[in-house]
Each structure stands twice: as structure tokens, then as C-alpha cells.
């Protein structure tokens, strides 16, 4: 269909709105145009977060020379012409607004050549004015470059965030489009550095490998059908987690959905197997009849609306669930020795353990082999709540250890009794029993240490520098601003393709999951504009990663060390996030429970 202006009765039906808010929205519109044009190869280049310059080159069908100017007119599109078409949009764009809006907000040069045209034709437009046109030699396809977004609208330019944050947003957009189209070869660079390259093999797993590294090899295939819905894609097996929902992506009919409800629906499939604060990896595409979906709600078009949301959500849960349970146990006899690693029976089971640890359960859909304390098993009655004598937890503060004197009473000297559920340390004090959340307590200890750490002290260089694979967004944010790394004391340099080479880490972070740490620091660099707050949050993140996790069984010595260190903390009663580290069960409460009084 040639590009035409939409008749007014059609354009009126289309939700109006601003499509150009930031470089990421420009990237989205341009890349979607490339995909609509049947491109097999899309290259995105940005400079300084895309606000300075953003360029998208494709090998799609191109725009005929005669239609080039029209493409930049409002409501000019080649993708629909009648109201009936609107109900069955199959392309990503259809409003005919994007190019017009981009050309109004920035300077644009578009050079395009349909295969049957001998040369490419180009035009330059700025602020909606045609600045020039001509012809040039070029391979077929379209090359659109935008420079200096909002240069004539300082009020709007003010709303742009740091180059790192904008680059991360552009990378997020391109990442999602790459995930939605494994058959297209995507390349993304930022300030000349390669952030993402997919091979266009058509295999979603290959895209995931480019994004998530070797974790992609463990992802489970999802193939699910119910009346009216089909769900396909990949989800991670229990045990392969991320610290954020950043690696969870849901598409409906190929369009990314930004709302969180679908992500919760996927997580529900893991039931109790999902440790708190951990999230699976998932890339799922839900297919519905086009009539079931209303994409026409907002021009940014990520806010897809369904006729019946529950159908979609329960399909997602069921789809993920069936993939997980299918993968679960019983390797075929011949598949021996290819199964996952099992823990050996320890030669010296720690005698003091009160309850066997609920190892990060590998098979959440089965009953655990060993009875474990239910998460909410607390003694009944008053003993359950932190009793008054424990004092109110100190108010949550933004810069905990830096604070003036200790809030809340110091801890009394404690004697370690044992460990419950591989999560809580049981200790005895002068006035009864103390339960200590091992992770929260250790996190407090390390957080205060990180805060007090002199620059360059206790840095442990690696003998063999380690390569960490980050998402393009996290990597872009870190490239643009490395201060979070310096704060934490990680020495690392970017490589191509979102990878980082870590050369040294502070001692407490030795042997921790550095890829995940860097990803989270990258997310912080992108998200947290307030510098002191960012610094503090990165120290918290580092402390969280360095501390023992819930579910780790500890030796008596290890527990003693944590508790001793906690006793000398400035704010021993809460973790840096403000959760309690210690719960006190007074002797009197025990006596009352046992009716001794």
C-alpha cells in the first residue's frame, strides 16, 4: 500500500498523544518502522544516550522517492486506510504520526532506497521544515538519523535524564525488539561501543545467549495452548534466578507489554520455589486473536489492553508451570550423568543444626524431602511480635552507618545455640532467646564495613580477570557513569557486547556472583538520579551480595563471627533496608508459653 494521508474519520478514531518523549521513544518508532518494512537486519547507533544522535539503518523495503516527503506528514501511513483495518492491525506502527513528530522535535535526515530504485533519495527536515533533498548511492533499505533531540525546545530537553539513563532506556527498547524478533539481526552501539549483537538465527535462545550469557542454555522451552491462546518462549528452570525482573519479558501478539501483572503471573508458576527477592528469566509471547487485544490505547503502545486479562494471566502461569514441571525430575535412564549436580551427603553433618536446611529447592512443585519450618512458624501469642523490650527498630535512614550515634539499644553478648531453617541463628542472651536473621545481620555488618572502608583498602585483584555478561541497558549505564563501581570498589572495564572484564573486587565480594552484582549496579546507575542516595544504595547492594544468604547452613564459628560483628555495629537492630535483624523472645514469654507462670 502506498503512503497516504488517513481520512479524518479514521485519524479521529486513533488515540492521540505524544510519541516522542525521549531518545528511547524515537528508537522504538524507528526500529518498529524498520521491522514493519520487512528488514532482516537493523543497526542502531546512539551518541550520548541518543539525545545527541540516534541512527537506525535497515535493509527493508525502503520508501519510494515520490513518497519520501509524505512519510513525514502527520497521519500519513502505508499501513491502514479504513476504520476496519484499525481492528486488525498486524504491523507495529499504524498511526502515521511518528516520523512527523520526530521531524518536529529534532533534525532528521532520511535516506531510503527501495530495491527497484536505482539510487537512494534523501531529505533533511528540522522543526518540520524541509531543509534539503537529493540523491545518493546506497544499498537498498532505509537510513534515518536524528540529531539533537529537542534542541529547539529547551523546556522538554530539561526532562531528559543523564546520558547513562537514556542509553539504558534505548538499550531496553532495542533489547525487547530483538527478543520479539529472533529472525532479525540486531546491532546496537553506544558511543561506538557494541552493546548488543544478535545473529538473526530465528532461535530465541540465541538472542537470550547474547543477552544473558550461558544462562540461556538452561532455559526451558515453553509451548502452551488453550482455547484462544497460545504461549511460546523460554523460562528459566528453578534455581536460575536474577535479582530483578529485568530479565522477564512478555509480548502479546509480538508487542511488548509493560505492565507487571503478567510477570507476577509467571512467577506464580514457581510457587514456593522462588526465593524472596529473586526472579526467573522469561521471554514469553502470548498469541491471541487480534480482536481480543486493543493496542490502540496509547501512542507509546506498550499499554496493551486485553478483552479478558484473566485469560492471558492464567495462560502465562499454566504455560510456565508446564515447562517447569516437564523439566523436573526423571531423566531418562540413558540421560545419566547429564543431570544437575546433587549435593553429597556431608561427612560431618553439623550436629547443631535444629532443622535441615531447605536447600534452594530444586523442584518447587514437589513436596520437599525433609520437613522444614513453615516460613511463618512463629511461637504463638505475644512472643511472635518483636517484644517491647527489644525497643522500636530505628527509623529507616538513607545513610545508615554514616549516621550519628547508635539508634536503638546495643545488643547484649549472645551465646550461639544453633541455626533454624538454615536462615535464622538461635542465640541465648541474658534475657531469653534471640533469633537473628543471618542474611539481614550479615548485610548490616558488611554495609557498615563498606561505608567505613578506606579507598583502595582490602582490594582483592583477580589472577584471571572475570568476564561478566550484562544486559545492554545495564552496561550502557555503567559505561556512561562508572561512579557506582568506584563507590563499591569494583575495578572493571567494558568489553564489546555488554560484557565487562572485572579485575579486582573488595575482599567481601570475592567469589560472589559478579555478573548479577554488576547488573544491579548498572540498574542503579540508570535509575537513581540522586547522587548521595545512589552511593548509599550501591553500598547496600554490595553488602547484600557479599552477605550469607538465607538457606545457607553455617558452622558454629561462622555464626559466632556474624553475631560478634553485629554486636559491634552502630545500628545492629536493622539491616540497611530497615528490616529487623534480631527478634527477641524474652525468658518471661517462654515461661508464659510453657505455663510455668
Amino acid at each position: 500500500m502506498p503512503i497516504q494521508r488517513l481520512p479524518p474519520e479514521v485519524s479521529r478514531q486513533i488515540a492521540a498523544g505524544e510519541v516522542v518523549e525521549r531518545p528511547a521513544s524515537v528508537a522504538k518508532e524507528l526500529v518498529e518502522n524498520s521491522l514493519d518494512a520487512g528488514a532482516r537486519r537493523v543497526t542502531v547507533e546512539m551518541q550520548r544516550g541518543g539525545a545527541e544522535r540516534l541512527r537506525v539503518v535497515d535493509d527493508g523495503c525502503g520508501i519510494p522517492e515520490g513518497e519520501l516527503e509524505l512519510a513525514f506528514a502527520r497521519h500519513a501511513t502505508s499501513k491502514l486506510s479504513t476504520i476496519e483495518d484499525l481492528a486488525r492491525v498486524a504491523t507495529l506502527g499504524f498511526r502515521g504520526e511518528a516520523l512527523a513528530a520526530i521531524a518536529a522535535a529534532a533534525e532528521v535526515r532520511c535516506s531510503s532506497r527501495p530495491a527497484e530504485q536505482l539510487a537512494a533519495a534523501w531529505i533533511r527536515i528540522a522543526g518540520g521544515e524541509l531543509l534539503g533533498r537529493g540523491r545518493e548511492g546506497k544499498p537498498h533499505g532505509t537510513d534515518i538519523g536524528m540529531t539533537r533531540l529537542f534542541h529547539a525546545q529547551p523546556a522538554r530537553r530539561k526532562f531528559l535524564r543523564s546520558a547513562g539513563a537514556e542509553a539504558a532506556a534505548v538499550a531496553g527498547v532495542v533489547t525487547r525488539l530483538a527478543l520479539s524478533r529472533p529472525d532479525v539481526r540486531f546491532t546496537l552501539t553506544s558511543d561506538g561501543r557494541l552493546l548488543l549483537r544478535t545473529d538473526g538465527s530465528g532461535e530465541l535462545r540465541d538472542v537470550c545467549r547474547a543477552l544473558y550469557g550461558s544462562a540461556a542454555d538452561h532455559l526451558l522451552p515453553v509451548e502452551f495452548e488453550a482455547p484462544g491462546v497460545r504461549v511460546t518462549g523460554l523460562v528459566s528452570p528453578p534455581g536460575t534466578w536474577r535479582g530483578s525482573r529485568g530479565a522477564m519479558t512478555v509480548f502479546v501478539n509480538g508487542r511488548w507489554v509493560s505492565s507487571r501483572a503478567p510477570l507476577f503471573a509467571i512467577e506464580r508458576a514457581y510457587q514456593d520455589g522462588l526465593p524472596t527477592g529473586q526472579h526467573p528469566l522469561a521471554v514469553l509471547d502470548v498469541r491471541l486473536a487480534p480482536e481480543e487485544v486493543d493496542v490502540n490505547v496509547h501512542p507509546a503502545k506498550t499499554d496493551v489492553r486485553f478483552r479478558d486479562e484473566r485469560v492471558v494471566l492464567s495462560a502465562l502461569t499454566a504455560a510456565a508451570h508446564s515447562a517447569i514441571s516437564r523439566s523436573a525430575p526423571v531423566p531418562a535412564a540413558g540421560a545419566l550423568l547429564s543431570g544437575g549436580a546433587q549435593t553429597f551427603e556431608g561427612d560431618d553433618a553439623a550436629p547443631l543444626r535444629l532443622v535441615s536446611p531447605p536447600w534452594a529447592p530444586r523442584l518447587p512443585l514437589e513436596e520437599p524431602a525433609v520437613p522444614q519450618l513453615p516460613a511463618d512458624a512463629r511461637s504463638p501469642g505475644e512472643a511472635a511480635a518483636p517484644p517491647a523490650s527489644a525497643g522500636p527498630p530505628p527509623a529507616r535512614s538513607a545513610n545508615g552507618a554514616g549516621d550519628a550515634p547508635v539508634a536503638g539499644p546495643a545488643l547484649p553478648p549472645l551465646r550461639i545455640v544453633g541455626q533454624v531453617g538454615a536462615t535464622y541463628i538461635v542465640a541465648e542472651g541474658p534475657e531469653g532467646m534471640f533469633l537473628i536473621d543471618q542474611h539481614a545481620a550479615h548485610e548490616r555488618v558488611l554495609y557498615e564495613r563498606f561505608c567505613a572502608r578506606p579507598e583502595g583498602e582490602d582490594l582483592q585483584p583477580l589472577l584471571v580477570p572475570q568476564v561478566c555478561q550484562l544486559s545492554p541497558g545495564a552496561s550502557a549505564a555503567l559505561v556512561a557513569d562508572r561512579r557506582v563501581l568506584e563507590t563499591v570498589g569494583v575495578q572493571a572495564d567494558p568489553l564489546d557486547g555488554g560484557a565487562w572484564l572485572v579485575r579486582a573486587v573488595p575482599a567481601p565480594l570475592v567469589k560472589r556472583d559478579l555478573s548479577q552484582l554488576l547488573s544491579e549496579l548498572g540498574a542503579l546507575a540508570a535509575e537513581e538520579p540522586d547522587l548521595p542516595r545512589r552511593r548509599d544504595r550501591s553500598l547496600m547492594t554490595a553488602a547484600c551480595h557479599a552477605s550469607v544468604r538465607a538457606g545457607m547452613s553455617l558452622s558454629l564459628d561462622e555464626m559466632r563471627e556474624i553475631v560478634l560483628a553485629l554486636e559491634s555495629c552502630r545500628q545492629p537492630r536493622t539491616c540497611p533496608h530497615g528490616r529487623p535483624t534480631v527478634v527477641h523472645v524474652p525468658a518471661t514469654a517462654l515461661e508464659r508459653e510453657f505455663r510455668r507462670r
Binding site: L337, G340, G456, D458, P461, L463, A507, D513
Partner: protein, 381 residues
């Protein structure tokens, strides 16, 4: 099935194979041990799906048969039986109840069919080689501790074994340290020396193997053609393991070839002082500082080992050292020093350093078959 076996050999065999039984498994049959008559022997197999252990013991077989029974239960029962009588094992045809009889004790143990038990894969058509048991045991001890325990870099959870020119070189590394042991192979047999090859063996497999090795004799090793599995055979025991795919880092280039300071010290004294310092280095970073001072006027030099922790205190200990080169200082994580010093044989070692930010090297004196490289920590001196 009807078999009679001496109690002690059955108990020993069960003790060996049950080490492979996982404490928890998604596949219930895997917590069982497979019993099969094999000619005039009884074969016991257990697996955790990563390694499989097989032990053969001499037995009086009067009726062939096979079954799997819960490993823990069977093993505990047999180990309590009196040793003066043979253990009679009987499985009536088409039954799943194993009858175990010994003297005046008798038990019936519910089993599961042998067909459900995973098949232990063959390891054929690849490389073969013979290793001395005693040397291999030492090599394992000196290398396994350095392999990575976390799987952020899976290949480093393996010990790299490279066979070439009559030497098997074992290397373990976790990103912060590297341990390399060169194990001389027995003179090649009639078949000629083995083709060069290299594989990554999970550290946990070698840890198990190390416990099975005796002070004498040989171990036969085989690797399949695709290099996905390896087999170790010791007399009547076979261990089959999965191998770790991937390329092990080229570690030769990580071993410094020069030094600015070389201190010869006693392994035991160095370990002792490091353990004392570690008490004061417990603040999470475990920093132990070393100062090497050459002797003056022909006297012996010294190695000072010290630590300090805010709010705890500090300590200093000193041992004699024969020093070659300049005075030097370097800091290490106490854990790393203790790990390597604990596995070295008593005697002397040389600590070679080239400044506080370059890797330190430990070499036991008297045998040139081992080298340990460890990254120092950067500290405020």
C-alpha cells in the same frame, strides 16, 4: 537372586558406593544402591547422576539376580552385623523384598526394580592412561582446594588435567589463585605412551577419587571419544564421571618466572604463624601482612606475619627465613595462605614475590613438581 558374601567386604563396598548417593534426589531410585550378580561376584552401583561408583566383591552366587535397595538403610544394617558369619542375600523370583540374613539377624528390605536404575554409561573409544595411585592422591590434595566452588565460571569448578610427554599436569584455579601439580607417569607400557589430551574433571569427583586411592598401586583412567566422560578404575572399584566442557584458561602465562625477593621458610612455621594472624584478621577481609627482611652480616633473615583488625587488636609473629633479594612486603587473604600451607608436605618452601601488587608464588623445596600462585590484596600499608 541368592548370594553369600563376607560381612566385612560387603560393609566396605557399601561404605564406598554410598558416598555417591545424593542426600536428596528428584529421582527416588537414585537413593538406592543397585545390586547385581556378575559371574562369581556381586556388583554394587550408586550414582548421584554426576558420578557413578561401582564396586565388585567376591561372592558365592548360587542364583543370579538384580534389585535396588535403599542405600542408607541397607548399609547401616550390614555394618552392624557380626563379622563372623557370611551375609546371605536372597531375592525370591518376581519379588521386590530382599531378604538379608546373617547369623541370628534377619531383615527384609523393600526394593525397586533394577530397570528403573540409571544405566552407567560406558567409557570407550577414547584415551587411556595409567596413573600412580600415591602420586595422584598427593596431586589431588595439592590442587583440588584451589578449584572454584561457585559456578559463575563453570570451567573453573573443574581441575584441568593435561597429559603430554609422560606427565599429567593437574591445575586448579578460582580466579584468585592457581595450583599446578606435575605428576610423572609410569614408564610407558608396550602400547606406547598415551596420546596427549586434556580434560576438566569436576573438583568434587577428584575429591572422591582421592579418598579411594591407596598408598600403592596404579589407577587406570579412560576418557571417551567425545571427552564428555571419564572413568577411573582401581582394582575392584570403578568411578565414572561427567566432565566439564569448556576451555580452561591458559594458566602457564600466570606463573611468574622472575622474582625480586625469595624467602625460604619452614612450611610448618609459616602455617602456624598464619593461623595465629588469621585470628586477628577475622573482620571479613582476612588480611594477613607479610614483611620479608634479609639477614644482616650473614645472620638469618626473617618473615614477619602480622594482622590487625579495627576494634579487635593486632598481632605480629616472626619466623626465620633465608632471604634472597630486597626487603619486601605483601598482603594475602589468610584463607588462601592457610589452604595451600595445609596441604604442602612438611619441609621448606620458597615464597617468591615481586612487589606488593604482583602475584606471589609458593614452591615447596626439594620437589619441583608443584607451584602455587596467589593474588595479593591491595592494602594501605
Amino acid at each position: 537372586m541368592k548370594v553369600a558374601i563376607p560381612q566385612d567386604s560387603l560393609a566396605r563396598a557399601l561404605g564406598i558406593v554410598s558416598r555417591a548417593v545424593p542426600s536428596r534426589s528428584p529421582l527416588p531410585v537414585v537413593s538406592n544402591v543397585l545390586l547385581t550378580t556378575d559371574d562369581h561376584r556381586l556388583k554394587l552401583v550408586a550414582t548421584n547422576l554426576e558420578i557413578a561408583l561401582t564396586v565388585w566383591i567376591g561372592a558365592q552366587v548360587s542364583e543370579e539376580g538384580t534389585i535396588t535397595v535403599p542405600a542408607r538403610l541397607f548399609s547401616e544394617f550390614v555394618s552392624q552385623l557380626k563379622g563372623d558369619q557370611p551375609v546371605q542375600i536372597t531375592l525370591p523370583p518376581r519379588s521386590r523384598q530382599l531378604n538379608v540374613h546373617c547369623g541370628r539377624d534377619e531383615a527384609n528390605i523393600g526394593g525397586m526394580p533394577a530397570d528403573d536404575f540409571p544405566v552407567v554409561p560406558e567409557v570407550t573409544d577414547g584415551q587411556r592412561l595409567v596413573l600412580p595411585a600415591r602420586g595422584l592422591r598427593r596431586a589431588i590434595e595439592e590442587v583440588v582446594f584451589a578449584a572454584a566452588r561457585d559456578d559463575s565460571r563453570p570451567v573453573l569448578t573443574g581441575v584441568h588435567v593435561q597429559v603430554a610427554d609422560g606427565v599429567a599436569e593437574l591445575a586448579g584455579a578460582d580466579g584468585f589463585r592457581l595450583a599446578v601439580h606435575r605428576l610423572r607417569l609410569p614408564a610407558p607400557s608396550a602400547e606406547g605412551s598415551p596420546e596427549p589430551f586434556s580434560v576438566n574433571i569436576p573438583w568434587s569427583t577428584l575429591d572422591h577419587l582421592g579418598r579411594l586411592l591407596s598408598e600403592s598401586g596404579d589407577v587406570q583412567m579412560a576418557v571417551n571419544g567425545e571427552r564428555t566422560r571419564a572413568l577411573f578404575r582401581l582394582d575392584d572399584i570403578e568411578l565414572v564421571t561427567q566432565l566439564i566442557p569448556g576451555t580452561f584458561p591458559n594458566y602457564q602465562q600466570l606463573i611468574p618466572t622472575t622474582y625480586a625477593t625469595r624467602a625460604r621458610v619452614s612450611v610448618e612455621e609459616f602455617l602456624h604463624e598464619t593461623k595465629i594472624a588469621a585470628i586477628f584478621a577475622r573482620d571479613g577481609s582476612g588480611i594477613v601482612r607479610l614483611h620479608v627482611t634479609p639477614g644482616e652480616g650473614g645472620g638469618p633473615g626473617s618473615l614477619q606475619v602480622s594482622a590487625r583488625a579495627d576494634e579487635v587488636g593486632d598481632n605480629r609473629g616472626e619466623i626465620d627465613a633465608a632471604v634472597d633479594g630486597e626487603p619486601s612486603k605483601i598482603a594475602f587473604n589468610s584463607r588462601y595462605l592457610i589452604d595451600v600451607l595445609s596441604v604442602l608436605e612438611p619441609g621448606e618452601l620458597a615464597l617468591e614475590t615481586s612487589g606488593p601488587s604482583n602475584p606471589g608464588v609458593l614452591r615447596p623445596l626439594g620437589h619441583d613438581d608443584y607451584v602455587h600462585v596467589v593474588m595479593p590484596m591491595f592494602v594501605q600499608w
